[in-house]
Symmetry: C2
Subunit: 418 residues, 2 copies
Amino acid sequence: MKPEEMILVSIDDHIVEPADMFDSHVPAKWKDQAPKLLTGSNGVQAWQLENQVAGAIGMNAVVGWPKEEWGFDPTSLAEMRPGAYDVHERVRDMNVNGILGSMNFPSFVGFANNFLNGLENKELALALTQAYNDWHIDEWCAAYPDRFIPLAIPPVWDPKAIADEVRRTARKGVRAITMPELPHVMGHPSYHDMDYWKPFFDAVCDEGVVMCLHIGGGFGAISNAPDAPIDNLIILATQVSSMAAQDLLWGPAFHQYPDLKVAWSEAGIGWIPFYLDRCDRHYTNQRWLGHDFGDKLPSEIFKEHSLACYVTDPSALKLRDDIGIDVIAWECDYPHSDSIWPNAPEFVHTELVNAGCSDAEIDKITWENSCRFFGWDPFASRSREDATVGALRAQATDVDTSLMSKSEWRARYEAAAS
Amino acid sequence: MKPEEMILVSIDDHIVEPADMFDSHVPAKWKDQAPKLLTGSNGVQAWQLENQVAGAIGMNAVVGWPKEEWGFDPTSLAEMRPGAYDVHERVRDMNVNGILGSMNFPSFVGFANNFLNGLENKELALALTQAYNDWHIDEWCAAYPDRFIPLAIPPVWDPKAIADEVRRTARKGVRAITMPELPHVMGHPSYHDMDYWKPFFDAVCDEGVVMCLHIGGGFGAISNAPDAPIDNLIILATQVSSMAAQDLLWGPAFHQYPDLKVAWSEAGIGWIPFYLDRCDRHYTNQRWLGHDFGDKLPSEIFKEHSLACYVTDPSALKLRDDIGIDVIAWECDYPHSDSIWPNAPEFVHTELVNAGCSDAEIDKITWENSCRFFGWDPFASRSREDATVGALRAQATDVDTSLMSKSEWRARYEAAAS
């Protein structure tokens, strides 16, 4: 298989929410209280809601910038590559990168809807959550239904409300919901508390909706050195995935819900063989602790429930048989600094070939596993031949992929607006 | 190579300190104030010092017990296999397990001398630390100098005092010092603070003494779910090693001290390829963060400083070339529940052969790497032929390895005492 013959479905990318996203979706009662994207005198934009201000409208949305301008800093839509917030430009950027399908996580509300979680008026918070999801489903994804796998955000403060939202959005085509890695870090009961989380687990299992645990949300579970550099955040964020896995695998959830499906979004895959070896050794060796996995090993149970998502993991791919070849799925992470754009096909192909993957294994990792796990048919409206990297790139010959500084992006943005 | 032809040097085992350990080593001034091993009315023993009581005299020292009796519970010397606290019995247990050499970590004082760290009278705490080390070096290790690699505990509250103790004990043959994984979790400055830790780093580099970071000490850096089972502690303890690595590799220590040597004790090895891939990708991709490793990758620098110690890690051994074949060292963890006794040779051999290791690779992992790293000559007083598993086991044909209940051990102990 050559890079242009691959099919790429990325199950973790990010939307930077556009300014008008709430306009058509907030009930009249709450219209005036929807979050607003305000621009400060310094040109920095931020979403504001009551007394809350979101930290960054497009955290780390650096795609298209030269590296010396990269940062976590909040900025404005004007300075970003439009594919970050404009769905038509997004699809063009997917085409030029050979990406057929994509699942898009939120930006300013946080991976577990942390922003609305902080709102005191829970009726308003729920209405805005639903508005967010309606915008995501009915505008963003609906513009190109054959290119996006819809993902909901949860009213995370109320498991019954989450369950209702899972069922409501599932009827509209949602295939996944983004949930906190470690809810106790947000001040909610942990996933060990099955009385509390029962409505949520019931709903996702009934509806076949995947629970996505994106790295970053649970980072507060690590007490870093007070003088540690910001590198710690990026390098160690994946360590939290094993903590989250621990709560689901060694708590009651995986046992009580055999159909529960969890995507370890951007978690990487290298932690898994080490973690599973340790689980199996611990289970078979330390029987005095009384845990009972029945006739299976914890590693088998983990694999039955999991999709492990990585951007780049060259060493770990060599252990694909230990991880489970049906468990691994590639992701792009556009438009963040860890994303691979616009040369994902060549990068991914090289890494998979260097790890010794066969063509069949490449297909599993780049699209088959994720399409099966999320129940998304990539060929619903196009043939396989029209879904390849080469076919998509042929539609994107006019996409300019050159790097431009923030100020150049801003100049273009302002020219287009005037 | 057959199991009986292997040479095994274990660089992480544990002493359960005997009751008389302070008798000959505390200066007259402090004689009455040394910790005392007291027995409660329930038969449970605990070390007491002023108002402090150590949690367990032999945490998890379960070797020789049937599995249904395993536990973390504090118990008494009477119920343990005598190899836990009696050096002569220890060497017999090493012989029957084919172990030539061993480094022994403390029990009741904690891996970073946490117990004495809590003492207000720092002059007394220092005297007791020195007494501990003198006992370890002059009694325990000196009884069989060809079988033990001496390891010091630090007066961890004062880097200048640690430095003095490193130099003092190095003159007496000490090759390593056990330090906190994450000192900020103990309330001390982190390893990023080079002004604070300079005396310590100077001393270990001057003396060629290895800094051992044993898992468990930094576990408090993880905010577990309040209702998580105890399994979390055992399974996730190794996740802290990457946090500790982060502070040394991405902080100034490895850069400022090219001779600094760190043993990742009981950390396992599976976290390393994943961690190093992520470090290298982060470094080469996220240059905006400004870190400068000169003409090397962070993975290269990590390997120059590290000895990675594992008990069992079947998947990760297949990535030995990514970890570094000169970086990996096996350990036994006697007498804890994770230890492999008395069949370590067969267990280790099977795991290494299954991973495809050559004889030369087996030698590196089972003894060469650790002997080089700690500067310990395993053949100083015996030939290689007399150092093999087979040769040692031939001296231990009378060692009874059958499992016995706590009550049986107690009956034997009391019979021997009377």
